[in-house]
Symmetry: C2
Subunit: 248 residues, 2 copies
């Protein structure tokens, strides 16, 4: 029995107190991490889970609501609770913040320039929390917005996590590939934005003069278990497009 829920080991109830529903949430996250529950799958009903674990339905509900708030599951009244998928629609709204100044959002096409494997630089190792001289996979690609090249980016991955990815056809939706092909679910990401002059190499890819203003997006993607799984640096032209950010 790997799943465990417990609080009072007859010890002091004050220290290390963790609510039952959070323990249940953690248990459910473990099932997602180890692939016991996979994207798209329907979870057992609240009543079944409650009976299995030995808590009330209300406690299971709070745990599932927490997962839904983290976009890890999707709940639909009358149908059930499902493990979230990295389909294009979800990516588009959750992880891709560039939108046309007017008009509908659309998923950008991608054109891979180069893909290779090599030893991590010190910076790559630091960002991805890798051991000394670990291998990484680097993907350089150009992405099209509204039919025009607008993003030049490099994606850096720990090679150990994605064996054979460098010898594979790379799809447009990378996070979908990570999930379906390697069981790696991107749970969240931290982005840092700057305005910079476009370096010559990126300028050539985007067919623009070097030094033109570009939005630099430095993103670190974090997996379900909290470990960094992707480092992505994107240079974006923001002519007719913008980065949308809602502050609540």
């Amino acid at each position: 029995m790997t799943d465990h829920v417990d609080n009072d080991g007859a010890a002091s109830p004050k220290l290390g107190f963790r609510p039952l529903y959070q323990q249940v949430r953690d248990m459910f996250v473990r099932r997602l991490v180890d692939g016991r529950w996979t994207p798209g799958q329907a979870l057992p009903s609240e009543m079944e889970l409650a009976a299995e674990i030995g808590v009330s339905q209300g406690t299971v509900r709070k745990a599932l609501d927490a997962l839904a708030a983290e976009n890890l599951v999707v709940r639909r009244q009358g149908r059930g609770t499902f493990v979230a998928e990295h389909d294009e629609a979800r990516i588009l709204f959750q992880f891709f913040k560039l939108a046309p100044d007017d008009g509908e959002r659309a998923f950008p096409e991608s054109r891979v320039i180069h893909i290779a494997r090599g030893a991590a630089t010190p910076e790559e190792g630091a960002r991805l929390a890798l051991k000394r001289r670990a291998q990484v996979i680097r993907i350089d690609r150009v992405r099209l917005l509204g039919g025009r090249p607008a993003i030049s980016e490099r994606v850096t991955l720990p090679a150990a996590l994605f064996p054979g990815l460098d010898a594979r056809e790379v799809p447009n939706n990378l996070y979908g590939l990570y999930a379906a092909g390697y069981g790696v679910t991107v749970a969240n990401a931290r982005e840092r934005l700057k305005a910079v002059g476009l370096p010559p190499e990126q300028a050539a890819h985007l067919d623009v003069a070097p030094g033109a203003p570009a939005l630099l997006i430095d993103r670190l993607a974090i997996a379900l278990d909290g470990s960094p799984v992707e480092w992505r640096v994107s240079y974006c032209l923001t002519d007719g497009f913008h980065y949308a950010s809602d502050l609540r």
Copy 2:
């Protein structure tokens, strides 16, 4: 009696169904909008509110939890529930996304360049949902990050909402002034970011060459009742600083 909670007027229960706790939430928002509850004030306890309204404590709890999720109230176990304040710490983390590349976040000093009142341009009228030829207040200022001028921005406000603000000492924390001086609470904001070459006027304010890459932030701030109350356009130098965005 202005507060009202009701569902089934013996009509079809299917259409226009709105859960009780959301109706209670709406009632509470009304109390915030009309100043019956003011920033910093302690709300009555859950039990008192439940008895007053005539619903269970659990329903009041769900309503207050919703408000807490929107950052409109702050709940503290053992102490009570309090109306959120626009103090600098809150602004710093909720509405100000520029952070030093390394080091602690700090609230930027401000230096006002110019304040004036005038008729709204068509664009200002459109952004702020104003009537034709309504008056606006415009504040131009420079803000300092790490002691150096880094942001040149124009703040545009509906004059009707902020009488006399143009003849007043303008503090560093504008949202605090809106709340304390005019009873206007900024509930959320939408930002659009672009990378642009710095226009001559802003370049002069920031003591940088025109055309240098700058982060353009176009922000529309929304009040509790959903109406736009501030339009702000900021040109930011991102040398040693970045715009932080967390994607969940």
